[in-house]
């Protein structure tokens, strides 16, 4: 049976168009863009084209795009650059639900003497803007808030947040790895200083990412060496990857409408049916202000890994924010930050769809999951009431 892949917030398949765009740059046009000869010269324009494609997707100028190796490198570059450019400032603000690429970095910076404030979220996953406002100080070097959450899909009002931060003259960065390609982004209308994106979340390959750096933003490179990327990042360019990223961005622009209508409809169908068929289940995060492809559902009295492995028996590949699969023992920090009770938090499953998912696949999940939950609840010392309780669908 072909796997039903609904874990697209983890990674996506490389689109055939993207693959086709990349292939010649492995075998025929493998020159180094820094070389003086024709062979190297052949790839330079293609890299430039990719830069334009990325810029176009997010409403930026091509020279504001820096290619990196991944979203984590973009995040590291942005934050370290802001700190290096403001050496007298020792304060960093992030949200409590940031991705580990940000959280682990700021935790390590904390050990080096920086102060980190984490802004809490409410039960729907919304950022506490008042708390953010209060936390801005003359000592704050950078505020980094994600655009959309990878686990729940909740979208933050980024333009508003950037505006608020900007008024204090503080650098603002956003990890937009999950948002880019899924929702319209136009940086021209915002005061965002830096934005991270990643190839493999939008059907381009793994190992390539981008960082938008607004013209005029003070910048200090993270990787030092050669003069590539106009001295902003050393290291020979990942040419096929960059071309793939460009193609992926172009494709995402083309598919945005479909993502926002067909994929959203599929996701809503999945969600509605699961909530209807499975008592004591609940969607985590704001029901409306969410990425169109993401659904994070908690099933009370059962544990996420068990659900996931039973789904896997039907070749359904989803993911769990539960402790057991992540290597940590506590439920996902995102779900806990929203105050979801433990009875629910341990049994959360994330379905993240893509344009390649079909109605048949979603119906198959709707068919297979309820008996799994029922079976696990029958097995659970807390669970028998879970199966009988009234449906929580309003």
């Amino acid at each position: 049976m072909k796997p039903i892949y609904v874990d697209n917030n983890a990674t996506t398949q490389v689109a055939p168009e993207v693959m086709a765009a990349m292939l010649p740059y492995f075998r025929e046009y493998y020159g180094n863009p820094s070389s003086m000869h024709t062979f190297g010269g052949q790839v330079g324009p293609k890299v430039r084209k990719a830069r334009e494609q990325v810029a176009e997707l997010i409403g930026a100028n091509a020279d504001e795009i820096l290619f990196t190796s991944c979203g984590s490198e973009s995040d590291n570059t942005a934050i370290r650059s802001a700190l290096a450019s403001n050496p007298e400032k020792r304060h960093i603000i992030i949200s409590r639900v940031e991705h580990p690429a940000i959280r682990s970095l700021t935790a390590s910076l904390e050990n080096q003497g920086y102060r980190v404030t984490e802004i809490p979220v409410d039960s729907q996953g919304h950022l506490n803007l008042e708390k953010l406002q209060e936390s801005l100080t003359p000592d704050t070097a950078i505020v980094s808030i994600m655009w959309a959450n990878n686990e729940t899909g909740v979208i933050f009002p980024l333009e508003k947040i950037a505006e608020m931060v900007h008024r204090h003259g503080i650098t603002f960065h956003t990890d937009a790895v999950q948002a880019v390609g899924k929702i319209p982004i136009n940086l021209r209308n915002t005061t965002i200083d830096m934005l991270s994106l990643s190839g493999h979340k939008l059907h381009a390959p793994k190992g390539v990412g981008g960082l938008f750096i607004r013209k005029g933003t003070k910048f200090s490179p993270f990787l030092i060496g050669g003069h590539q990327e106009r001295g902003r990042r050393a290291g020979t360019e990942n040419v096929p990857g960059i071309i793939g990223l460009g193609a992926g961005c172009q494709l995402a622009k083309k598919n945005m409408d479909q993502e926002n209508s067909r994929v959203r409809k599929l996701r809503d169908h999945l969600e509605k049916e699961l909530l209807y068929r499975i008592p004591n289940s609940l969607v985590n995060g704001d029901p409306l202000q969410r990425l169109p492809n993401t659904s994070n559902i908690s099933f009370e009295f059962v544990e996420g890994e068990s659900i996931l492995l039973m789904l896997n028996e039907f070749n359904i590949c989803a993911s769990s924010g539960s402790a057991c699969t992540s290597g940590s023992l506590e439920p996902s920090h995102v779900i806990r930050a929203m105050g979801v009770p433990f009875t629910m938090a341990h049994g959360s499953i994330r379905f993240s769809l893509s344009i390649y998912n079909t109605r048949e696949e979603v119906d198959f999940i709707i068919d297979k999951l309820p008996p799994i939950i029922e079976r696990l609840r029958l097995m659970s010392p807390f669970g028998s009431q879970g199966n009988k309780a009234a449906c929580t669908l309003q």
Binding site: S306, N312, E313, C324, P381
Partner: protein, 274 residues
């Protein structure tokens, strides 16, 4: 995703003995929903006092379900005395091993069994009281010490794998490290320096005076140290002991045992006449 053995997968996908035994003789409940796993074990004895039926309910991951299923299989047909010897390691072995991060699931099985046996006997599990070291998972110093001792754990990560302590905010890591050092210190006592002859003689005299003579005197007997040659301790019996047919047993079971315990395990006691 964790790497599971086929046996774990089999017991997870087709667990044996799910449910609750009617009118159980033994009931064990461990874990909590906050911690992410819980186990409810029930069993019934037959007329010979053997576990005739055992069932479980569990909330937890694949390892927790498989461990509980394995546990019920392991205890069936055993007497309480036999069942209480089952360790968490045996549960894990039965499953062909568990990922080290999941060993706490087998520990949960062992604890539920202890509790069920205690409830059957009408006693309570000696819940090692103690101070909560890990707030996130409510684990006490005594529980950590026991896990370290029984499984020879060496690192904080090991302790987390077996007890969950330290798997959350990590604030308790320093305390866990201290507990590991403490227990490891107990189990590997510092190499004792060999006693000098004078120290040895003094210690033997003190031990006779303190540990041996009072009990012999109670029965109207006594003992006298005659000589010490290497590890041979020569003594002479006095009073009632001199005429007692059980004197050789007393020499072995009391005199030699005490001297070995308090002075050196190499000592041999000889009775001489003087």
């Amino acid at each position: 995703m964790w790497e599971y053995t086929d046996k774990v997968k089999e017991h997870f996908l087709n667990p044996k003995n799910i449910g609750e035994v009617e009118n159980p003789d033994g009931v064990g409940d461990v874990g909590s929903i906050a911690c992410g796993d819980a186990l409810h074990l029930t069993f019934k004895l037959d007329e010979q006092g053997r576990i005739a039926d055992a069932k479980f309910k569990t909330f937890g991951c694949a390892s927790a379900i498989a461990s509980a299923s394995a546990l019920t299989e392991l205890i069936k047909g055993k007497t309480l005395e036999e069942a209480e010897k089952i360790t968490n390691q045996e549960i894990a072995n039965y499953l062909g091993g568990l990922p080290k991060e999941k060993m706490h699931c087998s520990v949960m099985g062992q604890e539920a069994l202890e509790q069920a046996i205690a409830s059957c006997r009408g006693t309570e599990v000696q819940k090692a009281e103690g101070e909560v070291i890990c707030e996130c998972f409510g684990v006490t110093d005594k529980e950590i010490e026991r896990a370290v001792r029984e499984n020879n754990l060496k690192t904080v990560e090991d302790v987390t794998n077996y007890t969950k302590a330290g798997g959350g905010c990590e604030r308790c890591h320093d305390d866990i490290r201290k507990l590991i050092a403490k227990v490891q210190g107990e189990t590997a006592p510092e190499e004792k320096k060999p006693l000098t002859n004078i120290q040895k003689i003094k210690l033997i005299e003190e031990t006779i005076e303190r540990e041996i003579r009072p009990s012999l005197r109670q029965d109207g007997g006594d003992i006298e140290l005659v000589d010490i040659i290497g590890n041979r301790v020569q003594v002479a019996t006095r009073g009632a002991c001199a005429a007692c047919p059980s004197a050789p047993i007393t020499m072995k079971n009391l005199v030699e045992a005490k001297l070995r315990e308090f002075v050196s395990p190499d000592l041999v006691v000889e009775e001489v006449s003087s």
